[in-house]
Amino acid sequence: MFDIVHIVLTLLLFLVLSILNMGIIIKVKAFFGGRCGAPVLQKMYDLIKLIQKSIKLSTTTSWIFFAGPLLALIVPFFAFFFLPFASIPPIISFEGDFLLFVYLFGLLRFFTTSSALDTSSSFEGMGTARELTFSFLIEPILFVCLIILAKGTSSLTLFGFFGYHILDAWQDYSTIFGIVVVCFLVILLVENSRIPFDDPATHLELTMIHEAMVLDHSGPLLAAILLGGAMKFTVYAVLIVDLVIPFKTGILFYDTLIAIAGVLGVGVIVGIIESVMARLQLISIKKVLLGTLIVSLFGIILITR
């Protein structure tokens, strides 16, 4: 079941999907802007270019500065181990692994923010403060959603959430799971600093949130962070696809094709959202996130009554 070729192929697929997704978002945005847009593999060319560059280090940095980019590469891979993809079961699965899944990203955030603070740049301190504020508002939403899934499918593993019971659970709790899908989409947009909450393409340090934290990373370190960001996006996209596409055909090939189409579809949806929406005010982001939290709490009320 867990032969090594299988695992390597899945991880390669994951890597390719991550790079493709970023390109697709750019393409969709270019389409809405009436432009031709960069090629879909532009992200890969960027990464290759960055890897060939040298690293510039500030004199104040220590080893923590390297820990952020390193974990940015490792954590999404490790988190992907816990998620079922199509009809492929997760590589690791145990009772309560969804807690680890949430806090893996917590660990990543801790080291990203630490490595940002390590440069002792005031811009990066500001970006860190904002990033932590948002993540503190996001964490309860993610938790409430996972509790809803745990209650709906009466299991405690991520494989149990998205495995065999999910179809029955959808029939019983379609409304509530609809809420969870919306909450997951909000979480995806905030965690990956996409447009209504943060603009990945902004050029002013004062308006940056996530990008302000990685200003001092250069060359291969920046490449690690960019690739890690793309993989993090794909992990959350897989989370949504697992929930939204509960049915399985039973044939591995078709299931995988459907799941790939789903993940790329999330990229298209995010591209559309980015094209039609302007960035929210910093103050109203707080409002929107608290509103989402309240909505997810309704889900808990509905499922426990």
């Binding site: 409304t175 409002k287 608290l290 309240i294 009320i301 509905l302």
Partner: protein
């Protein structure tokens, strides 16, 4: 219509309540209340068999709640030169939180009520309580006279949920009567708003305490 669909639509009603609590423009709130009224009328219409009486009631409700009352109110705000800002006594975020608490409270209360089993699987009763309380919270937490009208309309929507969904179409006469009352109330309130604004320049109910003969 099965219970799940009804619950989805009623959840939308609660979300509109929440949206009104958080919105800071008066016309947005008026439009949201109108939308809420239309959604509820549609829900009641499609959850029963098609009858002439039901259709007439549906058309009357949609035209009054969805179009006549909002247009009257929007006209009144423009005519009386009321500023678009809501002027909250309690801020927007605290109001949203209080509203969320009231939703939890209403779910708690309705679990204690001895309801029929068929009514227990839908969330009609809790949403009724929640909408009623949201209307009251809006009346308490906002300063202007026109927001009190909006709160009153929300409470009417709440009463409509209970009357139409739980008892069926026997409430034809009662609902028409209530609608007439609401329409008259909004009408009078529109005239009052004008008088308040000409006397005090702003529709601020805090100033009404100093009224004399």
């Amino acid at each position: 219509m099965n219970a799940s669909t009804i619950n989805t639509i009623l959840l939308l009603v609660v979300l509109i309540n929440m949206f009104i609590m958080g919105s800071n423009r008066i016309i947005t709130a008026i439009k949201a209340v109108a939308l809420q009224g239309i959604i509820l009328a549609l829900l009641a219409f499609f959850s029963e068999e098609f009858t002439t009486k039901g259709t007439i009631l549906f058309i009357i409700i949609v035209s009054i709640k969805g179009f006549i009352i909002p247009l009257l109110l929007i006209h009144a705000t423009k005519f009386a030169n009321i500023n678009q800002e809501m002027k909250p006594l309690i801020g927007y975020m605290p109001t949203m939180f209080i509203d969320a608490l009231s939703v939890f409270l209403s779910f708690f209360i309705s679990q204690k009520l001895p309801l029929l089993p068929s009514h227990q699987e839908t969330i009609i009763v809790p949403v009724f309580f929640a909408t009623l309380m949201s209307g009251m919270i809006l009346i308490i937490a906002r300063q202007k006279a026109i927001t009190q009208v909006i709160g009153y309309l929300m409470m009417e929507n709440g009463v409509y949920i209970l009357s139409s969904m739980l008892t069926g179409s026997v409430t034809f006469l009662a609902e028409i009567g209530v609608l007439l009352d609401v329409l008259a109330g909004v009408f009078i309130m529109g005239i009052m708003l004008n008088h308040i604004s000409t006397t005090f320049e702003k529709g601020d109910v805090g100033k009404l305490t100093s009224l004399r003969e």
